[in-house]
Assembly symmetry: C2
Homo-oligomer: 131 residues x 2
DNA sequence: CCTTGACTTAGAGCGCACTCGAAGTCCTAC
DNA sequence: GTAGGACTTCGAGTGCGCTCTAAGTCAAGG
């Protein structure tokens, strides 16, 4: 208790990871995390817990739906023999991100084309510019 | 129906654009579109209407929120003098897409790193692999 | 004439991922 | 001892973007 502890409060983790305490409790509630409590019943996050939270936020940043993240960690909980399935899950999502990247790039191109039309030869609200 | 008509039914447009008829009615309801009716009260989409629907789907593919699409078309309806503002709106969203692209790429890198760990030196469910 | 089926409207419902509120507990500082 | 503030649980509420239902209209085919 006197020296640096290996655990962190919910406020610390929220701050460090960039999510709200509400969200951390939510993640725990839906089974993405198992966090210990201190004598007073408060959450104490280990560095491993924090690492997992960070990983979750990265998966979310990649638009992996909560349900699949739950699935992933359920597999983790079941032990090493689920590794091939975990790998498959990640690979599938990797492919989805890649295709999402492509469609975003194509949408970006559409918008850039539109922007070029506004910036370039554009005086009247002619035909295709209304759309 | 014998020759090519300049208008299309809701089912045709839905099919062509790849959205449901429900969604087309929804877009109209919230003011993204103004579609004419035939004698029987059915929607008749002109080619311009269809072009706008396609543009909307591209904006949606780029994650432009409905609210901002409404704003954009409200500006279009107000006439040519709103072009600078429309341009600004598109440019802002272009920047957002770009930053979204970057964060997606970074999330992809994280996942690829994880995949590499599963594929490579991985025998035990060691430390960081649980996260 | 009657059925079929695509269309119409207004409005309710859904899934997702949080986000917030209420009511209560517990440590800290004064 | 007591006020403050961060924490706890449970459950309800929010915002988005559809998605669906119900009840009715209409044109065409048998």
């Amino acid at each position: 208790m006197t020296t640096t502890e290996p655990t962190h409060t919910i406020a610390e983790v929220a701050e460090r990871v960039g999510v709200t305490a509400h969200t951390l409790r939510y993640y725990e509630r839906i089974g993405l995390l198992g966090v210990g409590r201190d004598a007073g019943g408060r959450r104490r996050y280990t560095d491993q817990d924090v690492a997992r939270v960070i990983f979750i936020t990265k998966l979310r940043a990649a638009d992996l739906p909560i349900g699949r993240i739950q699935h992933y960690f359920a597999l983790v909980a079941q032990g090493p023999h689920t590794e091939p399935e975990r790998l498959a899950l990640l690979e599938q999502h990797r492919d989805e991100i890649r295709s999402r990247l492509h469609s975003l790039e194509s949408a970006l191109a559409t918008i850039e084309f539109k922007i070029a039309r506004y910036g370039g030869t554009l005086g009247t609200d002619s035909s295709a510019c209304g759309s």
